[in-house]
Symmetry: C2
Subunit: 368 residues, 2 copies
Amino acid sequence: MTSARLKNLTASLTTFGLDAVVLNPGPTLTYLAGVQFHLMERPIVLFVTPDQDPVLVLPELELPKMDLFSYKIQAIPYGENPSEWGDAFRKAVQILGLDGKRIGVEPRQLRLLEFNYVKAGAPEADYPDASNALAGLRLKKDKAEIDMMRRAVKIAQDALEATIPLIKIGMTERELSSELIIQLFKHGSDSEIPFAPIVSAGPNAANPHASPTERKLQAGDLLVVDWGAAYNGYISDLTRTFAVGEVDDECKAIHKIVQEANAAGRAAGKPGVPCADVDIATRDVIEKSGYGKYFTHRTGHGIGMEGHEDPYMRNDNMQLLEPGMAYTVEPGIYLTNRNGVRIEDNVVVTETGVEVLSDMPREIRMVG
Amino acid sequence: MTSARLKNLTASLTTFGLDAVVLNPGPTLTYLAGVQFHLMERPIVLFVTPDQDPVLVLPELELPKMDLFSYKIQAIPYGENPSEWGDAFRKAVQILGLDGKRIGVEPRQLRLLEFNYVKAGAPEADYPDASNALAGLRLKKDKAEIDMMRRAVKIAQDALEATIPLIKIGMTERELSSELIIQLFKHGSDSEIPFAPIVSAGPNAANPHASPTERKLQAGDLLVVDWGAAYNGYISDLTRTFAVGEVDDECKAIHKIVQEANAAGRAAGKPGVPCADVDIATRDVIEKSGYGKYFTHRTGHGIGMEGHEDPYMRNDNMQLLEPGMAYTVEPGIYLTNRNGVRIEDNVVVTETGVEVLSDMPREIRMVG
């Protein structure tokens, strides 16, 4: 499987006029290698060219992982003393004849740490942004990938359903977050969950990127839970918003508006439609309700091995949807210092529309 | 607290002749801000100079976090359309008058994503490595930090003790890892554990950086568990090695050697001693036993907000230990395709020696 992926990448390098691409530990490297390396203070870089065996510079203690590659690859290991590391990178550049060439980089992932080592080895090379050449690789999910995402959604949903009966008024956001994490693992999530759940209630729910606090759940709070699971490296990323005890009429109203916006966003996707249309579909519902200025972020992002990846559901993104693309639909309304709502689902584009991977009830449910 | 930290940094910038430093989401930013930002596709950068209020470029949806800063700071927010982002960075550079100046960077943390935005805003600036100016900040832990590390150690130890009775022959490494993670959260770990536990047995234990697999525990395996907890952002990083059922004499022998090496390493640290001496102390024990070539990594790394940070216990590191420095002591022996042992503790340098934060029994214990 990974050898087909490597072949797609080398073809893409040719298409984009790149002599190589350098990848450090992260989703793209995992996708190509079929094995995970750690992002740490020791630089690890895979060099891929259109026509030679890939070269991997890595610490000696990571050598056992070389057996897991499904294609021929040359390892250049280095020892624990950083004074040796530059030599390993120079050697990689020499073997592949890359100095003075066009070596693509992945700016969202590559750190100056790795970049500086590569550049010291190939000081005369150009380093164009290879994001476009790489984006196509993981953009359209195959059946096996979608199956893993479906499983990641099921694990997440089952974990939250198991957590809901435990929610009580007076419990802190952190306590609820811990319970949910425990349930994620009990239901079979990978040992690295994709992100720490957002559990935010009342005024904290008005912050779309809140971290769980020691604040206790109170009657009248809206409770936003934004959580996901991972299965074999593929993730889910969902949000549901609950009512803690009785909530006021405005809370019920904004929940209903967001639920309608979410439905409109889910319905908007199909092959040939620009990503912008998905954003516009949710935004229209919220703007018509008069809450437009309280929906402060885009409608969604691509999903697969990462929580945030191409394609992005923004009203300026004219990229056309294609079968196999997967993304979130997550409109929200955030009333600063008061309350907030978000409802998020994961969808994958089919030949005729989208399949919604998540099916947990979206209606407001009372907890506590 | 964070305002004192900011003051230490601005003093350090002056000492190292830097006009500014730029920080993206990561431990250093969290340390200075007292609030955590996400590393994502939207660039977030804090600009710190010796004599002006810091400037933070960030997405609008992160603005609610600005209230959490304990010192004056200027926010430059940007919207969801990436075409606006460059302007925000140019504005930050202009406000601080940084073009043509010396802007320090943190290569281990800063991605090309953020670097490219900063550089486009300040194309005439120099970008020296600021790691030395930053390392001093988090290198010596204060009492509050050590208390949090002590708590992170206790959570980790209690979690593993609660897991041990559940270990059975026939259980997979992944199952055991999941149980341990559940126990970490039950015992109060932060919602982001510092790293996915390494649970590796038999031949897998010979890989120091193994990921848990579907392999089942078998009698005769050595079982390496390398795990940690986080408490308020401070972490623990420990390893114990168990015998699954009866193990052979060589397994018992290498376990005993590593236990002696660990004790020698723990005893070697005190103020004024070079880090190298800690490495040499463990390595001597293992080399004298004849297994020297099977101890393939350095003895340890600094620990605090990160699993791997300064100071590093390598035999070429002449950095002198000082009170408040905290690090791991983790010698190992790895017999490729057969078995492995590692025993890891966390210590902090005192006025006269070291305090060992971890006290879980190190003797070989039979499980299963």
